[in-house]
Subunit: 147 residues, 2 copies
């Protein structure tokens, strides 16, 4: 940690940590509207993708593609949203968000104004997939750390 | 174009097209609140990153890193936001958005509720950088299309 202030991403205190590789880790985000929402976090406190070496960028994105594949397979979303903001916490992390045409903000971003009420039945169906998602992420992610 | 409906991203009718490579193109988005906002669009009508081959994913992300580097250098933002949604138009594209601590939505996503009024002077300063940004994107992007 190359900075002064406390960073909860450095501390891996972000959601439910499911897999830790040499250079990144994956958490399942606790989000009542978006079950299956995962984050891929770079282990070191780095601000921007272009602050990483080209090799490290590729290592991080390959982790994101792995998570996207597993989330697609298990959660069967209409669309995947991939987002790296870091405005509040300038520590590289990627949101991998399964989206459905009936979800609260669709087709807006999950930060946009709600379009409809929660569909509790559909949400329950998606929540029921989380044990499978957890298991797949824990057992099938592969993290290499070479430069 | 492997689909039936008209897609304005397939047609390259999206903002101001500044560079066209064999597999992707870059546009400068006309956005009154976010001067310097660029998009990197995959030429073919593909929905998800994991629908691309690993080699093509890398080609697209290398284009995103090139744009990020140039936007950082010219626009000097506090933070870069990278976003691939495609909820409305399921045709792969990456938003590369320069963010400033005084911009309208900061630290929220640009789709979130405004936090403050526009600072016209700062916006004018950023708008004034656009000729430089256009020139840099037109002359310095490098697009390869090999698999």
């Amino acid at each position: 940690m190359s900075h002064q202030e406390y960073c909860h991403l450095c501390a891996k205190e972000d959601g439910e940590v499911l897999y830790v590789a040499l250079k990144w880790y994956v958490v399942l985000v606790r989000d009542g509207h978006y079950p299956g929402f995962c984050r891929v976090v770079w282990n070191e406190h780095v601000k921007e993708m272009t602050d990483l070496s080209p090799a490290d960028r590729q290592i991080l994105m390959e982790a994101v593609w792995q998570v996207e594949s597993i989330v697609r397979e298990v959660m069967k979303p209409y669309k995947i949203n991939l987002v790296s903001l870091g405005n509040m916490i300038p520590h590289l992390h990627w949101h991998v968000i399964p989206r459905y045409q009936t979800d609260v903000q669709f087709p807006g971003a999950i930060w946009a104004r709600p379009q409809r009420d929660i569909n509790v039945e559909e949400l329950d169906e998606r929540e029921a997939l989380l044990p499978l998602l957890r298991e797949a992420l824990k057992t099938r992610l592969f993290g290499h750390g070479r430069d």
